[in-house]
Symmetry: C2
Subunit: 338 residues, 2 copies
DNA sequence: GACCTCTTTGCAAACGTTTTCAAAATTATA
DNA sequence: TATAATTTTGAAAACGTTTGCAAAGAGGTC
């Protein structure tokens, strides 16, 4: 592999014109079997690889996707990223990964950079700022993932949090819990908002009185989980279970409860949300709502690829169903030791 | 942003030739201040972005890097990836992330795909197979990361495991531990090998008798941690501390020890390796050797960028120093309750 | 003012493809 | 067998840049 071969070299070796070579490499239409074989042989012998750059200049796809997420260091995202990458690679696509840290400015900068590099489409976990900007560049393939904005002409694939929350609360309810605290956020993202709404809805439907003092809001972090629990304890309100907005919060909750001599799940049941890998390594193992993040990534990429190839250009709004994973942090109320 | 502007449009608006435009956009050498300003104004007005593809076709850099890792789902890698991305973006570079699952075949395929897409260089966490292949494509900028192969003409940046292991064992030793089991691997990677060698070396230097039955080998996973601990227990050998090849193993160890009524750190001290984010969320919080993975990623990218720009083409072999993070899984031997 | 030098500019040829169009070869039709 | 219809082929023009080369301008020097 000293120096790159071009289509010209192949043409010379095969004894045909470059147009013919190009044709067998692409359409493969209207070229005699004999010549076709010659070309294919030449390609083989020379170990020719077509130059993606030159093809792109003629408007051919670069077979490249952009993926914008807040941060790969957030344990929620790796499996989602893996989902898009696996699906992309299966189709010969490569993916640019960019971290935005949730900043709209960074997001826009990165987006433009990707556009400059002629990606065929971009999949992104939207921040609030995104919305406005994307509405203008809507002639370009974009699919939202995990979170969505209320733009009807943008595809998205996310998780059905109404179902997720119901799964968690049904579980808690069936265990006899009625005083269920909510520790999370209602601002962070569309998903966070939905989870809070679903919590209220569930209480209403189950005829459980809605108690403001069982609500604590904060970030989706371990540290915030600790702080929110401190706040909850300070209020001296009675609670026998806690629904956490995500797993990281749940870990914080468990840590602080433990420090205060409160046993889990004997005294309080905890359910998390996300099912990040660490949830099953934690002690006690966390009962949580599993978000099918890998599938979300995979599905969004399928949709993207269909948009690009023109197979299916329709706007799609997909919600994938989460599931409940019961582990060790939930237990029937008042079931004592053991 | 309906249709892309080209250098031609800029030339027309500025009333100069396209060569002049190109010149002010690149060298900026030998063009009158007056015209230069005109061109710059035209660029501004038209919101012109230079076409990276066309530039690349003329041999200009794509400002794109490839990053090959086993899997982004392995919690060891996200911060390393973040390190290279941050440094890359700071210099206007974008990075393709690819997962190889440690397979040499996949690795080679991905590598070639990246080459086809004309990346300016690739940073990779090598598998064994890589070595052979890379030795041939050595005219292309490559830097190894985390692990290395013994090819003298390939740069790498990794962590100094001799120091890391010494840090961990010194700590255990100072706490009075003398029967220190080793649960890890000696095959997985250069790092794993080094850790095992350093363990043996430490024992020798400290005049602690080397006991084969204190050694268990397996994978770098939680499940393997469980299995290895079962094996250790089965042997009925006396141990008061365990050094784990990575944090995931340590979590498995802790889980299984707990199941067997063994208290940590009261009965046994555990030290992990890596310091992945979960280590501080775990209960008990894990004492572990912190690998500066972010810095490793960042440093490797700096080296790569220097290679590409030609500022510094020398082969570099860099080892970054790890540090010990003492948390809750280690305690002075026999110090009883509380 | 003529000549020389140095700077600034533009033309045109690449880079490796795809694709239009017309020419050539083949096959079908009368 | 001649002609029309069809298929297969190649020449050449694009795609948006960079850059070598020569022409044009500007500024000195004698």
């Amino acid at each position: 592999m000293t120096t790159d071969k071009s289509i010209k070299d192949v043409a010379k070796v095969a004894g045909v014109s470059i147009s013919t070579v190009s044709r067998v490499l692409n359409d493969s239409q209207g070229v005699r079997e004999e010549l076709k074989q010659k070309v294919l042989d030449a390609v083989q012998n020379l170990n020719y690889h077509s130059n993606t750059i030159a093809r792109a200049l003629k408007g051919m796809p670069m077979k490249t996707l952009g993926l914008l997420i807040p941060s790969i260091e957030n344990p929620f995202f790796p499996s989602m990223v893996r989902g898009v990458q696996d699906e992309a690679h299966r189709n010969g696509y490569t993916v640019f990964l960019c971290n935005t840290d949730g900043s709209g400015i960074v997001e826009e900068t990165q987006f433009k950079l990707l556009l400059d590099k002629k990606v065929d489409g971009v999949i992104l976990v939207a921040s609030k700022y995104t919305t406005k900007y994307l509405k203008e560049s809507v002639n370009f393939p974009v699919v939202m993932i995990d979170r969505y904005v209320d733009s009807p002409n943008l595809s998205y694939v996310t998780v059905d949090h109404a179902i997720g929350v119901k799964l968690a609360l049904d579980h808690l309810y069936s265990l006899g819990h009625r005083n269920i605290a909510f520790l999370g956020s209602k601002l962070v993202s569309s998903g966070a908002k939905e989870r809070f709404q679903s919590y209220k809805r569930y209480l209403y439907d189950s005829k459980i009185e809605f108690d403001e003092s069982l609500l604590v809001f904060g970030d989706y972090t371990y540290e915030s989980g600790i702080k929110m629990t401190e706040e909850l304890l300070r209020r001296k309100v009675k609670f026998d279970a806690i629904f956490c907005g995500n797993d990281l919060i749940a870990f914080g909750v468990i840590e602080l409860l433990k420090r205060n001599g409160i046993n889990i799940p004997k005294d309080v049941s905890i359910v998390g949300y996300d099912d990040i890998s660490f949830s099953s390594y934690h002690t006690p193992k966390l009962t949580t709502v599993h978000q099918p993040t890998y599938e979300v990534g995979q599905m969004s990429t399928k949709i993207m690829l269909d948009m690009i190839s023109g197979v299916d250009r329709r706007i799609k709004h997909i919600k994938i169903e989460p599931s409940l994973v019961v582990r060790e942090t939930t237990r029937r109320i008042g079931s004592g030791n053991r």
